[in-house]
C-alpha cells in the first residue's frame, strides 16, 4: 500500500510537472500568430492583415480575452489562408488552455505531495487532515477551472456565487436557531448592517460625490481595504447584536422571534431615514463599491467562516450551546451561564450574518436597505429547515439546491412555452414560485427533520467510521 502510494504520487508529480512546463512554455500569441498566418499570405489580403493587427492591438492593451475572440473569428473567416499543422494546433491548444493547465498542474502536484505525505502518516487523525486538505484543494481548483471553461458570468457561476453566500448566511442562522435553540428572525437586519457597513467604507473616493449626490458627497471620505471592510461589517453587526441581545435574549421562543423580527424592520427603516443620508445615502442605492468578479472570493470567505463556525460548534463552547438547546434548566445546573452563552451565540451568529451581508452586497454590486425585507430572513430560515436544524452540511447543501432551483432549474416554468402549437398551461411569470412552494412542502413532508436531520455529511461515509468530519461549501 505504501509503495503503491509513493509510486502513484511520483507518477502524478511527473504529470503535474509536464502540465506546468507546457503551460509556462506555451508560445505567446504574437509568436503563435506569425506561425499561423505566414507573412506572405498576410500581405496578400488586406482584411487578414487588419484582423491580425486587431489581435496584436488587443494584446498590446493586455486584453487577452478579446484577443482570443478575435483570433477565433479570424480562424473562422479565413479557414483556407491560415497555416495549421499538428504543431501549431497543439501550440494553440496550449495557449488557449494555459490557465486551466497551470491550475491543474499545481493541483495535481499538490495532490501527489499529499498522497506521498499520507503514505508516511500512521495516525488516523493526520490521515483525515490530509484528506480534508485534498478535498478543499479539489474544490477550489475545480471552481477555478470550471469558471475558466464556462465563463465568469454564466448561470452556473452565478448560482455557485450566490449559493456560497447563502451557505454562510444559513450556517450562521443555524448556529443560533439549530444549535443554540434560539428562534431568532433578525437575520436580514444583521445582514443589512453588514452590507451597509461594507458598502459605505469601500466606495471609491472619486465616486463618492456621484453616489451621494443628494447629500453633499457624504460624510465618510476614505476607503478601506476590502478584507478590513468585510471584517468591520461583521463587527458592526455583532455590536448591534450585543446591544439588542441585552434585553431581548431574556425572552423565550416565539417572543424572541417577534422581538428580533421587529429589530430587523426597525433597522431597515432607520437606514432609510433622511437624517442619516450623509452616511447611508437615505433611501437611495449605494453603489460603486469594491465587488468581486470570480467565484473564488465568496467561496474563500464563506469557506473560512463556515470552517470557523464548525470548529466552534465542535469545541467546548459548541457543546454548551447544544446543551442549552436541549434543556435550559439542566444546562444551568451544569454550570453554564445561560445569559452569557445565549448572548455569545447571538453575537457570533450576527457577526457571520454581517459578513454574509457584505458578500451579498458585493454580489449584487448595489445595495439598498429596502431590499432586506423579512422575506429574506424567511428564505434563509427555509434553507436551514430544509437542510436540517443543527446540521452544517445540511445548510450548505440546501442553500446550493435552493439557489439553483430558484435561480436556474425552475426558470423555464416562468416562460410561456409552446410544444408544437400546444401552449403549455400555467407556464407564465410567477408559476415558478408555485412549483417551488410545492416542492418545499413535499420535502418537509417526507424529510420532517430536513435533508440531513441533525447529522453531518462527514468523512464518515468516505472513510471508516469516526466522528468529527466537517464539510464546507
Amino acid at each position: 500500500m505504501k509503495v503503491f502510494k509513493i509510486i502513484l504520487s511520483l507518477l502524478l508529480a511527473i504529470i503535474a510537472c509536464l502540465l506546468i512546463f507546457f503551460s509556462i512554455n506555451a508560445l505567446d500569441l504574437s509568436a503563435l500568430l506569425k506561425e499561423i498566418v505566414p507573412l506572405e499570405t498576410m500581405q496578400q489580403d488586406a482584411g487578414l492583415e487588419k484582423a491580425v493587427k486587431r489581435i496584436n492591438d488587443c494584446l498590446a492593451d493586455g486584453n487577452q480575452n478579446r484577443a482570443l475572440r478575435s483570433l477565433n473569428r479570424l480562424l473562422d473567416d479565413y479557414p483556407d489562408k491560415v497555416h495549421l499543422d499538428v504543431q501549431t494546433k497543439l501550440d494553440l491548444f496550449f495557449y488557449r488552455n494555459n490557465k486551466v493547465m497551470l491550475t491543474l498542474g499545481v493541483y495535481v502536484l499538490f495532490f501527489s505531495a499529499a498522497l506521498a505525505v499520507s503514505a508516511f502518516l500512521k495516525q488516523q487523525k493526520h490521515q483525515t487532515a490530509v484528506l480534508v486538505a485534498i478535498l478543499v484543494a479539489s474544490l477550489y481548483a475545480g471552481i477555478y477551472i470550471v469558471e475558466d471553461l464556462v465563463g465568469v458570468n454564466s448561470m452556473l457561476m452565478t448560482v455557485l456565487k450566490k449559493g456560497a453566500i447563502y451557505a454562510l448566511l444559513a450556517v450562521s442562522m443555524n448556529l443560533l436557531n439549530g444549535f443554540t435553540g434560539l428562534f431568532s428572525l433578525g437575520q436580514a437586519g444583521f445582514m443589512l448592517v453588514g452590507a451597509y457597513t461594507y458598502a459605505i467604507f469601500t466606495i471609491e473616493n472619486t465616486s463618492r460625490a456621484q453616489v451621494y449626490q443628494y447629500y453633499q458627497g457624504g460624510l465618510v471620505q476614505f476607503t478601506l481595504p476590502t478584507l478590513v471592510a468585510i471584517l468591520l461589517a461583521g463587527l458592526a453587526a455583532a455590536f448591534f447584536a450585543f446591544l439588542i441581545g441585552l434585553p431581548v435574549l431574556r425572552l423565550k421562543s416565539d417572543y424572541l422571534a417577534i422581538a428580533t423580527l421587529g429589530f430587523a424592520e426597525i433597522i431597515r427603516a432607520v437606514l432609510q431615514y433622511d437624517g442619516l443620508g450623509r452616511i447611508t445615502n437615505g433611501s437611495n442605492l449605494l453603489r460603486k463599491f469594491t465587488t468581486f468578479n470570480t467565484a473564488l472570493f465568496p467561496f474563500a470567505v464563506s469557506g473560512i467562516c463556515i470552517a470557523l463556525i464548525a470548529l466552534l460548534i465542535h469545541s467546548t463552547y459548541g457543546r454548551s450551546f447544544k446543551a442549552i438547546r436541549d434543556d435550559e434548566v439542566a444546562a444551568e445546573a451544569m454550570g453554564i451561564n445561560l445569559f452569557v452563552y445565549k448572548q455569545l451565540a447571538f453575537v457570533i451568529s450576527s457577526f457571520f450574518a454581517g459578513i454574509g451581508g457584505a458578500l451579498l452586497a458585493m454580489y449584487q454590486t448595489t445595495v439598498q436597505a429596502a431590499a432586506f425585507t423579512s422575506a429574506m430572513t424567511y428564505e434563509i430560515l427555509l434553507i436551514v429547515v430544509i437542510g436540517g436544524m443543527g446540521s452544517i452540511s445540511g445548510s450548505i447543501l440546501a442553500s446550493f439546491l435552493f439557489i439553483a432551483s430558484s435561480e436556474w432549474w425552475l426558470r423555464f416554468l416562468d416562460n410561456v412555452t409552446y410544444i408544437g402549437t400546444f401552449k403549455v398551461p400555467f407556464f407564465r411569470s410567477g408559476f415558478r414560485m408555485v412549483v417551488f412552494s410545492v416542492i418545499i412542502m413535499v420535502v418537509v413532508l417526507f424529510y420532517r427533520k430536513g435533508i440531513m436531520g441533525d447529522k453531518e455529511f462527514g468523512l464518515k461515509s468516505l472513510m471508516e467510521p469516526r466522528k468529527g468530519g466537517k464539510r464546507r461549501g
Binding site: L308, T316, A331
Partner: protein, 279 residues
C-alpha cells in the same frame, strides 16, 4: 458550625396563596447523607429548587460552606406579614443563579430526568466538564486548549466508568433504560467535581433490587469522592438504609427529624404517611 456544609435558615416559599415550604430549617454536615422525606406535595422539590437557585424563596437564607448563597425577604405588605413586630428583620438579598451555585460545588439531579436529549451518553457527561475548562473563545476554536480538552475527556470517561455506563457511551442518552438514565444524571453531576450532591428522587420508578443497588452505589460514590449527599426520596427502604439523618416534611412544614430509628417511631410521621385515626 465549622463542618456545616449546607444550612437552610427559615426558608419559606409561597406561590400566591399556597405556602409550599413553610419556615424550613435544616443543617447538613460534611460527609453526611441526609434525606428529606414526606408525602407527595410536601414541598421537598420546592425546597431543593430554592437551594439550587432555580427560584428565590419568598423569605429565608441558604448558606453553603458558611457562605451566603441565597437570601431573600419580602417587601411592602408581605413584609408586615412575615416580619410582624420584628424590627431586626433582615433585608439583604442574595440570589446566585444555578450555574454559579454549581460552580461553588453543589451539583444536582432532577426528579423528572433532564438529560441532553440529542446527545450521546459521553457528550452528556462531557458537557458537565465545561465548568473546569478555563479557556477563551479563541483558544477553544483553534484548539489551543488541547490538553485541557484531553483531560476533560478522560475525566468524563472516568465518571462513566464509575457509574458503569462505559459500554453504552456512544448511544443516545434517551435510548437508555430508565435506571441507566438515572445513573447518567448522577455521572453528569459528578463530572462537575462537586463537594455536595443533591439527589431528587434517585430511585423513582426502580424495582426493589435496583433500589438496593442504588443504595450501595450512593454509599460508594460518597466515600470515593468525599461527598456530602442530600436526597429526596419516597422509597423508605433506601432512605432508612443509607441516611445518617432524616428530615420529614408535611404540607411544607418540618414535622420531625432525627436518625432513621427516631423518625420511624415518631407518631407524627406515621400519621402523616398513614393518616390519623378518626377517633
Amino acid at each position: 458550625m465549622a463542618d456545616s456544609m449546607l444550612k437552610l435558615n427559615n426558608i419559606t416559599m409561597q406561590f400566591g396563596g399556597v405556602i409550599a415550604v413553610d419556615d424550613f430549617s435544616i443543617v447538613v454536615k460534611q460527609n453526611e447523607i441526609v434525606a428529606i422525606i414526606g408525602p407527595n406535595g410536601a414541598g421537598k422539590t420546592t425546597a431543593f429548587n430554592c437551594v439550587t437557585g432555580i427560584y428565590p424563596p419568598t423569605s429565608g437564607q441558604v448558606f453553603f460552606e458558611n457562605r451566603l448563597i441565597v437570601s431573600n425577604y419580602p417587601n411592602k405588605k408581605m413584609k408586615a406579614l412575615y416580619a410582624g413586630g420584628n424590627k431586626n428583620f433582615p433585608k439583604e438579598k442574595v440570589c446566585l443563579t444555578p450555574d454559579k451555585i454549581t460552580r461553588l460545588g453543589m451539583a444536582r439531579t432532577f426528579q423528572n430526568i433532564r438529560l441532553f436529549k440529542s446527545q450521546t451518553v459521553f457528550e452528556n457527561v462531557l458537557i458537565a466538564t465545561h465548568l473546569h475548562q478555563k479557556c477563551n473563545l479563541f483558544s477553544a476554536v483553534f484548539r489551543l486548549n488541547h490538553q485541557q480538552e484531553q483531560a476533560a475527556r478522560k475525566h468524563a470517561m472516568d465518571m462513566l466508568e464509575v457509574v458503569g455506563l462505559l459500554e453504552v457511551k456512544d448511544e443516545l442518552a434517551t435510548s437508555l433504560p430508565y435506571g441507566q438514565q438515572r445513573r447518567l444524571e448522577i455521572a453528569r453531576a459528578l463530572a462537575t467535581k462537586p463537594k455536595m450532591l443533591l439527589l431528587d428522587e434517585p430511585a423513582a420508578g426502580m424495582n426493589p433490587q435496583e433500589t438496593a443497588e442504588l443504595a450501595q452505589f450512593i454509599r460508594q460514590i460518597k466515600e470515593r469522592f468525599r461527598l456530602t449527599v442530600l436526597l429526596i426520596e419516597h422509597h423508605m427502604d433506601l432512605v432508612m438504609s443509607i441516611s445518617d439523618r432524616i428530615y420529614v416534611l408535611d404540607f411544607g412544614r418540618l414535622i420531625a427529624h432525627g436518625t432513621p430509628e427516631q423518625v420511624q417511631d415518631d407518631p407524627k410521621v406515621i400519621a402523616a404517611y398513614l393518616g390519623e385515626d378518626e377517633e
